[in-house]
């Protein structure tokens, strides 16, 4: 996994609540057996005017000029502002894979759906939850200012606004540690293999019918 420490990135505002994973990456792209290459199909139904299928050359497809990520001022955005319950719906990890492949490293919103939130951390993406009023302020500033950037520092858990003001955010200590170091949690968990084995044996003795 890629480590995440610091980012000073261009911000794009996606002003919708309940953005679901079907919208983030439509199902026809889930047929891939790879982890990469989903970026061109991120938000496929919103981004393009035609219907997308896997394996297409997306550079030749007609783009929807109204969709925020197609606007020239947001090209190269690495930070996405979102509304409530972003990432709801299916557990597909293809959603964070697509965001990451597109170039997004940080998502900022008032709330995220649980499985999506989890999946982000496994892929070097940082989802940040801050109060709705603060999200509102960032949306307003972002829309009003071309080239609006935010500096995100995971170590100190802060977002720095262009005027120098700091927004603090919470992040789970373990997830932070993993993200800062780019650690693979399977490796970490296997350090406790003995404990897992002992637990398993105890459970097998007590409830053999779960192990049939």
């Amino acid at each position: 996994m890629n480590a995440f420490k610091l980012l000073d990135g261009l911000v794009a505002p996606l002003d919708r609540a309940n953005v679901d994973t079907d919208a983030i990456i439509p199902k026809q792209f889930l047929k891939s057996i790879k982890r990469s290459g989903f970026g061109p199909n991120l938000f496929d139904e919103w981004r393009y005017l035609d219907h997308g299928e896997p394996g297409q050359d997306c550079s030749a497809r007609p783009k929807n000029p109204d969709f925020v990520l197609n606007q020239p001022r947001y090209q190269g955005a690495q930070v996405l502002l979102t509304r409530d319950n972003f990432g709801c719906g299916s557990s597909r990890e293809h959603a964070p894979w697509a965001l990451e492949d597109f170039g997004i490293r940080v998502l900022i919103g008032p709330s995220f759906a649980d499985i999506f939130f989890n999946n982000c951390f496994k892929n070097g993406l940082l989802p940040i939850v801050i109060p709705a009023e603060t999200v509102d302020t960032l949306f307003r500033e972002c829309v009003a200012t071309e080239g609006y950037r935010l500096a995100i520092d995971l170590e100190s858990q802060t977002i720095t606004r262009p005027n120098g003001e700091l927004v603090r955010f919470e992040v789970d200590a373990f997830r932070k540690e993993c993200l800062l170091n780019g650690w693979d949690d399977i490796g970490l968990t296997l350090r406790h293999a003995e404990e897992i084995r002992a637990f398993e044996q105890k459970r097998r003795d007590m409830h053999p019918y779960y192990f049939a």
């Binding site: 079907d22 057996i33 557990s91 597909r92 499985i115 968990t189 409830h207």
Partner: protein
């Protein structure tokens, strides 16, 4: 001892270790695997030179990509076929407790085959790379949908990294009226608490209306817990649970059965257990539900109307409703009963079990689909459901009504195979998600119960099924 909730009992009995910040390793008893979310996990395992920890925990099937007709012709879409063959190869290489591949007589939707084979048992932790894993909570299992990295983590370590959830009790008191089903109950719950209302919670469903449900009905309710944002839904064990499991292929038998049942009987929240949140609904007030928008919380009773954005104060919410009405092609204040229906889909892990098909058949019997309805798909949840339905003659009822009787699979729930909506078409669907494009680009999904779907097929618009019973 302090009274415990069911969730706390399940959590404690699977806790391998806990770190200071609350992150815990939870032992996983059952790992359900399907073709869409597993290839990258198996690949990761292989690249790291790791082996699955306990293959006897794995129950696998191919369901999302498989066609629902012309099985003799195989899977025509080469990309889908590759994905299904990749699962075949991975199971061949690593092994599993059991695998129901494409065309197997017990193949079916992953959340249907687990319970019907007794591979889902009370007191287990169950995971699957699929958000509707919450379904299995109907058996008092701690069941979580997980992402592909977590699938790999469970394969490699037999554990899941988790933090303890908060607990919510949703109590549905009283009795539902005739024609009101588990689907209507859960849609009404989501309408009340919202699609993010359960985020961070494990929801236990209780109250007399839940107790009165069959296992099929309880699975429908828990299935949609994820649609309320909760990662897990739960229902306590009772006679209904035990009776359902008796004699199932992977359920214990003999002495082991008695021992298991004695333990399973303890899987309920203790009297006086405290929940972080309690929501109470009156079952008698719930009418058949129909979603009108692009999120399951956008729901109304069948006698109700589509909302009017002009009367909503919150700008983000108003904007969401406006966008949904535009996508759905509906006008403000329109009666639900005036929404036309172009296609009907009866199936999915929410409503494709035998009881669901019986309810749909009850309405369809002696009637015919309206001419204006292009197609009515009935897709059983598994080969076993299909066989049972045919033994009861339900397929003949459907065929006589002009419905199509298909092979099992996910089908038009997510339209990864050839079953899908055309842009602009309205669908009465017994599935669980009405997101934009879910059933085909530009398609318009209305979530309903199987009985309501059959009624919509017959009338060509949404009607109150209570008038047809």
């Amino acid at each position: 001892m302090k009274p415990q909730t069911l969730y706390e009992k399940l959590w404690e009995s699977h806790l391998v270790r806990q770190q200071d910040d609350g992150t815990a390793l939870i032992y996983i008893d059952r790992h359900l695997v399907h073709e869409v979310t597993s290839p990258q996990a198996f690949e990761g395992l292989k690249l790291a030179g790791r082996k699955p920890w306990r293959v006897s925990s794995i129950v696998a099937t191919a369901d999302h990509n498989t066609p629902t007709d012309h099985w003799d012709e195989g899977i025509k879409d080469p990309v889908s076929r590759t994905q299904v063959e990749t699962l075949d190869a991975n199971i061949r290489e690593y092994g599993a407790l059991t695998y129901f591949p494409f065309r197997d007589e017990r193949q079916g939707i992953v959340h249907v085959i687990g319970p019907e084979n007794g591979a889902t048992l009370p007191g287990m932790t169950v995971v699957c790379g699929d958000s509707h894993t919450s379904t299995h909570g109907a058996f008092a299992c701690l069941a979580h949908g997980i992402g592909t990295s977590e699938v790999e983590h469970v394969l490699a370590t037999q554990c899941l990294l988790q933090k303890k959830s908060r607990t919510m009790l949703v109590r549905v008191d009283g009795e539902v009226g005739p024609g009101v089903t588990a689907k209507d109950i859960v849609l009404a719950i989501i309408g009340r608490i919202g699609t993010a209302g359960g985020t961070g919670f494990a929801i236990e469903f209780g109250g007399s209306a839940i107790r009165a449900l069959s296992m099929e009905g309880r699975m429908t309710v828990c299935n949609m817990a994820i649609e309320a944002g909760a990662r897990a839904g739960l229902v306590a064990v009772d006679d209904t649970t035990i009776d359902y499991l008796r004699g199932k292929p992977y359920a214990p038998s003999g002495d082991a059965w008695d021992k298991a049942v004695a333990y399973w009987r303890t899987l309920h929240s203790d009297a006086g257990a405290e929940f972080d949140k309690v929501v109470v609904l009156d079952a008698s007030e719930i009418e058949p539900q129909v979603t009108w928008g692009t999120s399951p919380e956008m729901v109304a009773g069948v006698t109700g109307r589509v909302p009017n954005p002009a009367s909503i104060d919150d700008p983000v919410k108003r904007d969401g409703v406006e966008r949904a009405l535009k996508y759905m092609g509906l006008s403000p204040d329109m009666p639900i009963g005036e929404i036309p229906v172009d296609q009907v889909f009866i199936g999915s892990c929410t409503n494709s079990r035998i009881e669901d098909l019986r309810e749909a058949a009850k309405v369809a019997r002696g009637r015919r689909k309206a001419d204006s309805v292009k197609r009515v798909l009935v897709v059983p949840g598994s080969g076993l459901v299909k066989r049972q339905a045919e033994a009861e003659g339900l397929h003949e009822v459907f065929l006589a009504a002009g419905f199509e009787w298909r092979e099992p699979g996910c089908s038009m729930c997510l339209a990864m195979n050839a079953d899908r909506l055309e842009a602009g078409e309205h669908c009465a669907s017994t599935s669980n998600r009405n997101f934009e494009g879910r059933q085909g680009a530009g398609g318009r999904t209305h979530l309903v119960s199987p009985a309501m779907a059959a009624a919509a097929a017959v009338e060509g618009r949404f009607v109150d099924v209570r008038n047809l019973l």
